[in-house]
């Protein structure tokens, strides 16, 4: 194991992918590294001719990556802040996601999109969007949501090796978080959930930044004698429904946590899936924890008020036990 930050895991994964495959090209820097932007030199020092610093034009950047992928290479396209990705939606949704389908499998598009999404703190409405639920409604993409440096590394390697268009939904608040990355430097299979904590009383399905909050809630609840299982889907599409259903079959209770707006959230989607496919396992109503359906306010106390916390997750768990 090697200890590294989430940001360092991202850069290391891109570096290892570029070393392993000459077709991997990076379109975009500095990857939202913020104070860790010195990490960028690891990429530019070794692969300067394969790192492009594009102008700020998200649609053009995304679509250039799509065209390059259709023509054979494996571009990693950084779309910067998730909120800016909307400018590139036609290229992601009308081009990348549908090419393989509408050519009956003849033209895969091995492009990787990456953005830093989510409520970052003071981002206000135009820098705080969680875009994963918007994109989740599109067939044809693989959507990855790493919650820790190990998954950041392994999922990025998987994305750059995949023949499908992939979208890495990276949470802005995770970039500085540290964790252990396995030394085998392996890709994590796309479509495989990870049980981050075993428990027998209640299942929490949480994604991205919410996994850490769910684990914190689980530790607190353990002190009260409530044994919580935390399932991290890791990839939203394809979604590992079987692992979620198997967990609910063991515990009989489900809380789903997603940072985005409640309406149309992953929390809502997973709750619906379990209500349909796992109804007989359920001993209580499924609880969803997500944001109220408002834009994200700039005001710090207002922002804090609307976010899921380990306390709101704990309260939801307890509602399943009433």
């Amino acid at each position: 194991m090697t200890k590294m930050s989430h940001a360092e895991a991202l850069v290391t994964a891109i570096l290892d992918s570029m070393a392993a495959d000459a077709d991997v090209v990076l379109l975009g820097r500095p990857l939202g590294l913020g104070p860790q932007r010195m990490l960028m030199s690891r990429l530019t020092d070794r692969f300067e001719d394969r790192v492009y610093d594009p102008p700020v034009c998200e649609a053009g950047n995304a679509a250039l990556g799509v065209g390059a992928a259709m023509a054979g290479i494996r571009p990693f396209v950084d779309l910067s802040t998730g909120s800016f990705s909307f400018l590139a939606f036609s290229q992601i949704i009308n081009e990348a996601a549908v090419s393989n389908y509408m050519t009956a499998g003849k033209i895969p598009v091995p492009v990787t999109f990456h953005c830093l999404e989510g409520v970052r703190g003071g981002g206000a409405p135009q820098h705080s969007q969680n875009i994963h639920a918007f994109v989740w409604n599109t067939a044809g993409l693989e959507i990855l949501a790493p919650s820790c440096p190990a998954d950041m590394y392994g999922l990025t390697r998987a994305a750059l090796a995949s023949n499908n268009p992939t979208f890495i939904m990276n949470h802005a608040k995770l970039m500085a978080v540290e964790g252990d990355v396995p030394d085998d430097r392996a890709a994590i299979p796309i479509g495989k959930a990870d049980i981050k904590r075993r428990g027998k009383d209640v299942t929490i399905v949480a994604l991205s930044l919410m996994v850490g909050l769910a684990l914190q809630a689980a530790e607190e609840l353990a002190k009260e004698g409530i044994d919580v299982e935390v399932v991290d889907p890791r990839t939203l599409a394809p979604l590992d429904e079987e692992t979620i259903l198997a967990s609910v079959a063991r515990t009989g209770r489900l809380v789903v946590v997603d940072e985005t707006n409640m309406q149309g959230s992953i929390a809502s989607g997973i709750a619906g899936m379990v209500a349909e496919r796992g109804f007989r396992s359920l001993k209580a109503a499924v609880q969803r924890v997500a944001r109220p359906d408002t834009p994200v306010p700039f005001s710090a106390p207002m922002e804090a008020f609307l976010l899921p916390t380990h306390e709101t997750i704990m309260a939801a768990v307890k509602r399943t036990l009433v």
Binding site: G60, L64, G67, A69, P75, N94, N100, A104, G140
Partner: protein, 328 residues
């Protein structure tokens, strides 16, 4: 705008001129057959024909090698055919049949043909522009001297994506040729009503991209401009911008009543039919007899007739296969 000089290859040989003529005739006959089929209700959805614009399709594509890439637009059957797409496969795709080039999943507006480095027709105005620029990026990453061409209509001149891509192509000297097929109308609207500025070429020139305007009804003029641009691209000198002035013989789509065009305009443009011009030139120069030209037409008719019959008889895709190919 002065370009560093790259030698344009010698003038095309008579065989090449005849080949370009043959390609234009095939496109015209193909489009006429599609018009008949669409009018009869055999084509699902809307279909956009390129009759009248054959010279811009063929003149540019005849300047390319197989390793070069193209990206087309919603009026793209001519690009596919000029690039060598199978006539029967394209016709079957337009009818949505299982035997179509994309198994009936793409239809007229989204057919992609990677075997011929054709990144596809495209249902989004301007959508193909960055795909071609991306193909140029791919060529560079792989150390290839392949060029790529994006075709777009005058409507796409007002898309932000065009300007994003021209900027990136210029700063990175990408081997891409921007070809605007200016047929005077974006859907049902005359270009002058929606396009500001006295010079369309300025839209390339502002990025330092060598920009030129040619008669899009003259396949030889188009071809010469394209050869120069492709040679520049291959030599690592970056993008070029060519505006081909042409005219759509039909409406925006089959069934469009075209009440926004007048008879005098139609007469003037039809008198400049690129196929009639090419035929007259070939005859005047002694490169083809009237009988030769008639044979070209018969050959095209036979190919199209066979394609229509095969496509009509072909099976529909099985709906149960809906979930295939969502992921690769």
């Amino acid at each position: 705008m002065t370009a560093q000089s790259v030698k344009t290859p010698d003038a095309p040989a008579p065989a090449k001129l005849l080949e370009m003529h043959r390609a234009m005739v095939l496109i015209r006959r193909f489009e006429e057959a599609v018009r008949v089929l669409a009018t009869a209700g055999a084509v699902p959805g809307l279909v956009h024909l390129c009759a009248g614009q054959e010279a811009t399709n063929v003149g540019v594509i005849a300047a390319l090698e197989p390793r070069d890439a193209i990206a087309s637009h919603h009026r793209g059957h001519g690009h596919c055919l000029a690039r060598g797409a199978p006539v029967d496969g394209l016709m079957a795709e337009i009818l949505g049949k299982e035997t179509g080039m994309c198994g009936g999943r793409s239809g007229s507006m989204h057919v992609i043909d990677l075997e011929r480095n054709n990144l596809g027709t495209n249902g989004i105005v301007g959508g193909g522009i960055p795909l071609a620029a991306g193909a140029a990026l791919s060529a560079r990453a792989r150390g290839s001297d392949a060029a790529s061409v994006c075709f777009f209509g005058d409507g796409a001149l007002n898309q932000g994506l065009l300007h994003e891509c021209m900027n990136m192509a210029a700063i990175w000297k990408l081997a891409v040729v921007f070809v605007c097929e200016n047929n005077g109308y974006g859907e049902f609207t005359a270009i002058d009503d929606v396009t500001a500025g006295p010079s369309l070429l300025a839209r390339g020139e502002v990025f330092g991209i060598p920009s030129s305007m040619v008669d899009g009804m003259d396949v030889r003029a188009v071809h010469e401009a394209a050869r120069g641009a492709v040679a520049r691209a291959r030599a690592g000198q970056g993008p070029s911008f060519i505006i081909c002035n042409t005219w759509r013989f039909g409406g925006h789509h089959v069934g469009d009543k075209q009440d926004y065009k007048d008879d005098a305009e139609a007469r003037a443009w039809r008198a400049r039919d690129p196929i009639l011009k090419s035929a007259a030139q070939l005859q005047d120069e002694g490169h083809a007899s009237e009988a030769d030209l008639r044979a070209v037409e018969h050959e095209a008719d036979a190919l199209v007739k066979r394609a229509v019959e095969a496509a009509r008889a072909a099976p529909e895709p099985a709906p149960q296969r809906l979930l295939e190919h969502v992921h690769g």
